[in-house]
């Protein structure tokens, strides 16, 4: 079971570190990351494996969103099927 984490906001030190820490704590494996910084704007998408997560989806979502509030960026976590279903025949 995979999910996509999307983070958007002003670049600062510690964004990827902050998110990775939460994921590691919850036993979520990072499978792929892409990230760009345009001027000061930071956009990151991360594909993660939540099949062995130590918490339910809702709790994982809350932890990620909490991290987003601390880093002052917007973070979304969504199950990957929503993207696959829309963009693949």
């Amino acid at each position: 079971m995979k999910a996509v984490i999307t983070a958007v906001g002003c670049d600062r030190i510690g964004i990827i570190a902050g998110i990775s820490k939460v994921l590691a704590e919850k036993n979520v494996n990072i499978m792929d990351i892409t990230q760009t910084i345009m001027q000061e704007y930071f956009t990151m998408t991360m594909l993660v494996d939540i099949s062995k997560a130590s918490v339910q989806f809702n709790e994982l979502k809350e932890s990620i969103e909490e991290e987003g509030r601390e880093l002052k960026i917007s973070i979304l976590i969504q199950r990957e099927e929503i993207f696959k279903s829309m963009h693949r025949i």
Binding site: D32, T36, T45, L47, I77, Q78, R79, E81, I82, S85
Partner: protein, 452 residues
């Protein structure tokens, strides 16, 4: 593994362009709730709805959280109550409406459709009683929606029912006057009503449907408009293609949510209804899509052609994206729920007559339109007859949901609030159709209904 552009595109469609699942509707058969004792029937109805739908809202909320797609409404549709209540021999079915209302509140859905009668060929006793109960039923309940099917391509048009429904609409408006005629927003008169429509107010669980089913209505006029903005000046081939591709993406989300809801609720998946349904939120307007195509103001010449292209492209794109497409599936034109339509009426570019032409090429019909409060019942009936004819001859669904604004005239507004918006009172012809409607009887089915 990840295509960030696709991910950003999906997120933009949801966050900025107002893509959403407009409704998850659970259809529930009430055939096993019939009883010759009304109280027994109503208890069975209440219990069955509460049992089948108890997790509907929670599952909807869970799916919304996990997939990040707003699921705006969770709703229920039931077997036409005229069939269920008839065995009880009661003279009035308002208590059945109250039961539906309580059940809807108990499970947390915002509307329950199915206070319905199918009279395209004629009335049964139950049909007659139900139709007569409609004004009071809609006035004393909050969440119940009602519909009456007065015509089909196979059966022709029941003009007795058409005459009756004009009166019923006036009575419904009068009985809820002062509450901004909210009751009329919950009543639809149909031709060729679909049995699996998930949208209100016309949703009911048809006769051929199974015990319980999940139908999903998607929506996303904003995403179509945004896609078209990238192609300013492009020819119609390109425009149709852009709309098709966008409709595909929108419908895929509907299919995903429908299958997931069906799995979690352990209820079979019925259909995805790929309708572009506007709301009065900014950026969620069908009229604005038509204007983006190059019409200065919705209702000007070219509007019908633009809408025809839109409606067709939506269907073509969506069909590939879902295993079962049904319901109304097309573009909706509810005037009061579309900020662009309201502006067009205010500017004077959109008239009732033009809306009637537009109903020939899209879903629904004359929907959410306020008319002067003194419009005679026969004129309303004649409007229903016109819409029914369009549906019957063209083998499509048409409907009428109009609101006589009691005490108001052209230039005034009816304020419904929330998703239902506000409706400018539109002008209706002053010439009489009374002798036409008084004839009664049935308009026979058209020749092309004989398909065998």
């Amino acid at each position: 593994m990840i295509d960030s552009n696709e991910i950003i595109e999906t997120i933009n469609m949801i966050e900025k362009q107002k893509l959403d699942i407009r409704t998850i509707t659970m259809g529930i058969s009430l055939y096993d709730c019939c009883s010759d004792d009304g109280n027994t029937a109503r208890r069975k109805i209440y219990d069955k709805i509460c049992r089948c739908a108890k997790n509907l809202v929670k599952v909807g909320n869970d799916i919304e959280a996990e997939y990040g797609i707003p699921i705006i409404n969770k709703r229920i549709s039931v077997t036409p109550i005229s069939s269920i209540a008839e065995s009880s021999g009661e003279k009035n079915y308002v208590e059945y409406a109250k039961t539906l209302d309580s059940a809807a509140k108990a499970v947390g859905v915002n509307f329950i459709g199915g206070f319905t009668a199918l009279v395209h060929k004629g009335y049964t006793k139950g049909d007659y009683t139900l139709i007569d109960s409609i004004p009071e039923a809609l006035n004393v309940t909050d969440r119940v929606c009602s519909s009456v099917n007065v015509a089909t391509t196979r059966a022709g048009i029941n003009m007795d029912a058409v005459a009756k429904l004009g009166e019923i609409i006036k009575r419904t408006a009068n009985v809820s006057a002062g509450k901004d005629e909210l009751a009329c927003t919950k009543l639809v008169v149909f031709a060729n009503a679909p049995e699996d429509n998930p949208f209100m107010a016309g949703a009911f669980h048809g006769v051929g449907e199974p015990e319980c089913v999940i139908n999903v209505g998607v929506s996303g006029p904003g995403t179509v408009k945004a896609a078209l903005e990238t192609a300013a000046g492009a020819n119609f081939d390109t425009v149709a293609d852009i709309i098709k591709k966008t409709a595909f993406k929108i419908t895929r989300i509907g299919q995903l949510v429908a299958l997931e809801a069906s799995k979690r609720l352990n209820v079979p998946f019925g259909i995805v209804d790929l309708s572009l349904a506007p709301t009065n939120a900014v950026g969620d307007s069908i009229a604005h899509i038509l204007e983006e195509m190059g019409i200065e103001s919705c209702g000007a010449p070219g509007t019908t052609a633009a809408l025809a292209l839109l409606n067709d492209a939506v269907k073509k794109g969506g069909i590939m994206a879902s295993s079962h497409v049904g319901g109304l599936s097309g573009a909706f034109i509810p005037v009061s729920e579309d900020s662009g339509m309201i502006e067009a009426v205010e500017r004077g570019s959109l008239s009732l007559e033009k809306l009637e032409a537009m109903t020939c090429v899209c879903s629904v019909g004359l929907d959410m339109i306020a008319i002067p409060g003194d419009t005679p019942a026969e004129t309303i009936s004649a409007m229903i007859a016109d819409e029914a004819s369009i549906g019957v001859i063209n083998n499509k669904t048409t409907a009428v949901r109009i609101i006589p604004a009691i005490g108001k005239k052209v230039g005034d507004y009816v304020e419904f609030g929330g998703l239902l918006g506000r409706a400018p009172v539109m002008a209706v012809s002053n010439f009489s159709s009374s002798k036409f409607i008084k004839r009664g009887g049935r308009i026979p089915a058209p020749i092309h209904s004989l398909k065998n």
